[in-house]
């Protein structure tokens, strides 16, 4: 069997994305052992939404069997996915959900991601205290889902007061600056909700301010940070959005191309087309394990997790 799968990535601004593509490429290669030739063609560039729509159109021209996309917009691809489906192409989105009924989402539940961090923080703070949140890009769906996730949790903890929320655009340096400003104006905060790379920045400000012992803050999953976390015994917990999501999606895609059927149809999420993967969580209890997985990896490498072929097969009839 030969399959051609197109991978589209619309933003190349982070190591996480690079790792995502590398893992997906490795996953495709692994199918060789099963006697399946999976050829991947990749389009990965900084593009705007129209640019990524062009990615999909290019894949249609190229005549791929399936498209796996990390989309720049949840809703913008509806028409073009419909076109892909017309051309008999399987479309799977990963990392961010899409509204198209013609596509499937394989990835984590971003809302649960936000909730997990907040649960951890609430538990760590014993349900009371002042916290601030540093969010990603305002208006970006993944960000808004995460925010909705943590807000839902915080609603259950009335003694935790969210004193301010700012946006630092998933940028480490901006996260650091935002944290610095927040620390100056809210000297009495106990906790911080912050995501991804910005967490490393926020922690840097916390440490610079000498407040490492007084503040609990969510963290991130790159080796650099895990090392720091271990070394300085930070009071942190990190929800994992593994870069392996695209590899997982690819494994699912190949099985679907083989004509297999899911045991449980993918109907989760607000668009009822999602298949959620487990969300690992790192805190002091399993930090050492995570560190071990990352041993020998470069500093930018993220803790990861993916559906192996076997895991994926287990999901199918």
């Amino acid at each position: 069997e030969d399959y051609k799968i197109g991978l589209s990535n619309g933003w190349v601004g982070s190591e996480w994305r690079t790792q995502m593509i590398e893992e997906a490429q490795a996953a495709a290669a692994a199918w060789k052992d099963k006697g399946v030739n999976v050829e991947v063609v990749v389009q990965s560039a900084n593009v705007d939404v129209p640019g990524q729509i062009a990615h999909v159109r290019n894949f249609i021209s190229e005549g791929v069997d399936a498209i796996i996309i990390n989309p720049n917009s949840p809703t913008a691809f509806d028409p073009v996915f419909a076109q892909a489906k017309e051309a008999g192409i399987l479309v799977i989105a990963t990392d961010a959900e899409v509204s198209s009924p013609d596509a499937l989402y394989v990835g984590i539940d971003q809302k649960a991601y936000g909730a997990a961090g907040a649960e951890w923080l609430a538990k760590t703070l014993d349900g009371k205290g002042n916290i601030v949140a540093i969010n990603g890009v305002a208006g970006h769906p993944a960000n808004e889902l995460r925010v909705a996730g943590y807000k839902e949790v915080l609603a259950k903890h009335p003694d935790i007061k969210l004193v301010n929320e700012v946006n630092a655009n998933w940028d480490q340096a901006q996260g650091q600056q935002a944290m610095q400003n927040l620390l100056a104006t809210y000297p009495d905060i106990n906790g911080v909700l912050v995501q991804d790379g910005m967490a490393a920045g926020a922690w840097k400000s916390i440490m610079d301010a000498g407040k490492t012992d007084q503040i609990a803050a969510t963290g991130e999953i790159r080796k650099d940070f895990i090392d720091l976390w271990t070394k300085d015994k930070l009071n942190s917990g990190a929800t994992v959005n593994p870069p392996g999501v695209m590899a997982s999606a690819l494994n699912v895609a190949v099985l679907m191309l083989q004509g297999k059927e899911l045991k449980e149809p993918a109907t989760a999420g607000q668009y009822e087309n999602a298949m959620y993967l487990d969300i690992p969580f790192i805190d002091s209890s399993n930090l050492a394990e995570a560190a071990k997985q990352l041993e020998g990896k470069p500093g930018y490498y993220s803790y990861t997790d993916q559906l192996s072929i076997a895991d994926a097969e287990a999901l199918f009839k």
Binding site: E15, T18, S44, Q172, A173, L182, T185, D224, G299, Y301
Partner: protein, 325 residues
């Protein structure tokens, strides 16, 4: 010689200089910040704001030079150079103090090379600077991806981090001293060297400068090279500030560095202005951004207030000449 001094520096003239305007606005904003969110204008916080301002200010130094050189000079590639330098530096020092020197040399060379290409495109091929540096920005963004796939992004040496974030001399971090030194060097360069005279001359009247025997093209290339190098220095410092390098760190400096220059009293038309004002402009912009982070409103509100405030502040600066004098 007929000496008829006509210098009547009235109070109004002094009050209207961009530097004074910027400083007054900074003080005002600090008070406002302290009023809106107590603790904003504490000594520690001001120091930390200055670190952030220094990062932007160093980028703006190069931007300032390119703009002073006239002919619609502008450098949009600084954002890319900052990111590039942070990544090169992180890899060359890889968390070791012993690698700092090599990292600095490597970054400056990379920044200079980018500037050189910009300069050659602008002068020898006569591509408008906006176009040339915009294209270069695209190239650098692509280069970053290639580099990051080949070489993992690295970590700052502890010495560098300390230099940027910890007190170094008289309670001030090294980066602020560095910025002060850059400020003095820029003032010296622009005011007390023939290169400085040349920069203003080509910015003011390129043809006249050429006819007076000034090396117009070389000077302009030099400006772009210096801009690349200043952006590289900022990239190294940014690495020290954030501890590790990561993609696209520099993007946030592209247009703000231009605004800092404008707030410092250097109009985009060139040939006029200086760096001291730009330093104040960088601080002003940083303080403004920080105030907005600390007040508790929606992001949409923050952006609207930020945009409107920028416009309002611009009314103090470089409004174009009236058509009907």
């Amino acid at each position: 010689m007929d000496q008829t001094p006509r210098s009547r520096f009235s109070v109004i003239d002094i009050v209207k200089t961009p530097l004074v305007v910027a400083v007054a606005l900074i003080v005002f904003l600090l008070f406002l910040g302290e009023y809106l969110s107590p603790g904003f204008a504490s000594g520690q916080q001001i120091l930390r704001l200055l670190i952030v301002a220094a990062l932007m200010g160093i980028v703006a130094a190069g931007q300032n030079l390119v703009i002073l050189g006239g002919r619609e000079g502008i450098d949009l590639s600084v954002g890319g150079v900052v990111s590039l330098a942070a990544i090169i530096a992180g890899n060359l020092m890889a968390g070791e103090n012993s690698g700092i020197v090599l990292a600095i040399v490597g970054c400056l060379a990379a920044g200079a090379l980018v500037g050189l290409i910009n300069g050659i495109g602008v002068t020898l091929l006569r591509i408008p600077p906006l176009v040339m540096t915009l294209g270069m920005l695209g190239v650098l963004q692509g280069l970053l991806v290639v580099i990051r796939n080949g070489i993992p992004s690295g970590r700052a040496a502890p010495g560098l981090s300390q230099f940027v974030t910890q007190p170094f001399l008289l309670g001030l971090p090294g980066i602020i001293w560095l910025w002060i030194v850059i400020g003095i060097c820029m003032a010296f360069l622009l005011g007390r060297t023939m290169i400085g005279y040349r920069i203003y001359a080509i910015g003011s009247n390129e043809q006249a400068a050429f006819m007076a025997g000034m090396p117009v093209k070389t000077t302009r290339i030099l400006l772009f090279v210096l801009s690349g190098m200043f952006a590289a220095v900022a990239g190294i410092c940014l690495l020290g500030y954030s501890g590790s390098s990561f993609a696209n760190v520099g993007e946030q400096y592209m247009l703000p560095s231009i605004i800092a220059v404008v707030f410092g009293g250097t109009p985009l038309s060139g040939g006029k202005g200086g760096y001291t004002g730009t330093m104040a402009g960088a601080i002003l912009l940083t303080v403004l951004q920080s105030i907005l982070t600390t007040i508790n409103i929606d992001e949409s509100g923050r952006q609207m207030v930020f945009g409107a405030t920028l416009l309002l502040l611009m009314l103090f600066y470089g409004r174009g000449k009236a058509l009907r004098a």
